[in-house]
Amino acid sequence: MSTFLQQLVNGISLGSTYAVFAMGCTLIFGVLNIVNMAQGAFFMGGAYFGLEAARLGLPAPLALAVALAGGGLLGMLSELVIFRTLRARGGHRWMGLVASLALARMMIGLAQEIFGTQVQRYPASDLMQISWEIADVRIQLLQVVLLLVSLLLMALLAFVLQRSSIGRAIRTVAFSEDVARIVGVPVGRTILATFFLAGALAGAAGMLLGNLFNVVSPFMGEQMLVKGLTVIILGGLGNVPGAVAGGFLLGLIEVFSVAYVSSSFRDAIGFGLIFVILLVKPNGLFSGFEERRA
């Protein structure tokens, strides 16, 4: 029983970072119907932004703000350099995938050039070493903070999308770019804002996971991209609440399959599941709330 509860705690804290990252991926898809393969690089970038900020002695919340802003700026950069031009030229949708992956590679190369290929770690903080034992279940303060920050980011995104004027604009563009233009929504700026939000979420997830595993490296984004794609398949492409649920689900699946099945087949179970879901329920497990265009 205590193993079960312990895995539940671990799975939820891991899943919350997956959820934060996947929300960004799915948001881009919901609005533009594309997969931005550079999200993994923004994730890596965010981890480094947060790391540098922490090393400069900024307190953790400010470092997180730096990671958010840094990731967001990278996201905007990808829109300005690649996707905007591709849309204007009417290029095939495949081109966005190839170009965003090339951008990701550039950024990985750049990160190696600047920060080196060595794995780096966040400055140790005594605060984060605190943990409690409740009925044989060890809960780290770090896990609690991660979960709270993730929930805060989810609530923030929900608020932005549902209540703010920029959120209304994003939802209109997601529904139909033409409709948005007719009702006077500035489509270009709205898409730019979407890329900022998605990049910021990826950057925040980078700092969160960098803290959870205490590893920051130029290559951390590639694995995360795979996880992000997995989650948005689970949740349904373009479905933000689905991405949250899918993120927690993937975190739990991974942790429990390590504990109860075999550590080696951890990922196989996740991907096998995706394959089945795609065939049985291609709109994701949580189809219903549809953010994507008709």
Partner: protein
């Protein structure tokens, strides 16, 4: 002169092999793309071909050619098995399902230690692949693609790519056409995986992931998905350029990334479209205009 040529081949044979191998994979993807299948299954197909052929040569003592064939056949079977359900999915779900397939194969390769060597991979694979094997394979694939394009099959595929409703209405069994191209793509990628395994002495699960699959897509897309020479040009370009740029690894990655972005942005039809632009300068604009008026009228 002949001494010069043999020296040339001696010093560049590795890079020539790599160009040919990537071209082969590029043509595998070219076939899939020609029916609008944005497949990320390449890594999975190559892994199937590579592990199967290595098992055949090293464990079962097969000669090289049947082993390569067995690997290609297994990949084709894999394509047939996943193709039937996956091809019914819409565009993006198709891409993601093929991605999931590649990851499933990679994870199996990572864990089935007795056959795949697990995370460590398989070392000291006998080197059987020769440059002419690769050249022959590329030549055969180009011949097949060239001949098919000019046949009723090629016309049907072109219609499937542009408008599958029209294709169906003219009696084209769209599903079977796409499935057969997907299987052919699996066969070619499987053969490429088998040839690669017997070229590099080593295979490991890391060789066949998402990056491999996207790289493979890059060749035909950069070279041009409408020109027969597209995958060859794209593969040679993306293989030679990093060699030509003798910078640090990181700087090379950055420059390669920038170049790919530039090509995608400024030559959206792929590198081969340069020639088309020159020959049919007006055409692209006119087609767009026609499409626009058609939309306005319908």
């Amino acid at each position: 002169m002949s001494a010069w040529i043999s020296q040339f081949f001696a010093s560049y044979s590795n890079i020539i092999d790599l160009c040919l191998l990537n071209s082969l994979v590029g043509y595998g993807l070219f076939l899939a793309l020609s029916a609008n299948m944005f497949s990320l299954a390449t890594g999975g197909f190559m892994a199937l071909g590579a592990y199967c052929s290595v098992y055949c040569t090293m464990e079962l003592g097969f000669p090289f050619a049947p082993a390569v064939f067995a690997g290609a056949l297994l990949a084709a079977l894999g394509a047939a098995a996943i193709g039937a359900p996956v091809l019914r999915l819409r565009g993006d779900y198709f891409m993601l399902a093929t991605f999931a397939f590649t990851e499933v194969i990679r994870v199996i390769a990572l864990n089935w230690d007795s056959v795949t060597g697990g995370a460590i991979g398989i070392f000291s694979i006998p080197r059987h692949t020769e440059t002419w094997h690769l050249a022959l394979a590329v030549a055969v694939v180009i011949y097949v693609a060239y001949t098919l394009r000019r046949s009723y099959f090629g016309r049907a595929i072109a219609a499937v790519k542009q408008d599958d409703v029209v294709a169906q209405s003219m009696g084209v069994n769209v599903f079977m056409h796409r499935l057969s191209l997907f299987i052919a793509s699996g066969f070619i990628c499987g053969a490429a995986g088998a040839l690669a395994a017997h070229l590099n002495y080593f295979i490991g699960p890391g060789d066949f992931g998402l990056v491999r699959s996207v790289d493979a897509l890059t060749y035909p897309i950069l070279g041009g998905v409408n020109a027969l020479a597209g995958p060859l040009i794209g593969a040679i370009f993306t293989t030679l350029l990093p060699e030509a740029l003798r910078f640090s690894n990181q700087l090379r990655e950055i420059l390669m990334g920038a170049l790919v972005v530039a090509i995608v942005l400024y030559l959206p039809g792929g590198a081969m479209s340069v020639f088309k632009l020159r020959w049919f300068g007006v055409r692209a604009g006119e087609t767009k205009l026609a499409a626009a008026t058609e939309q306005a009228q319908s």
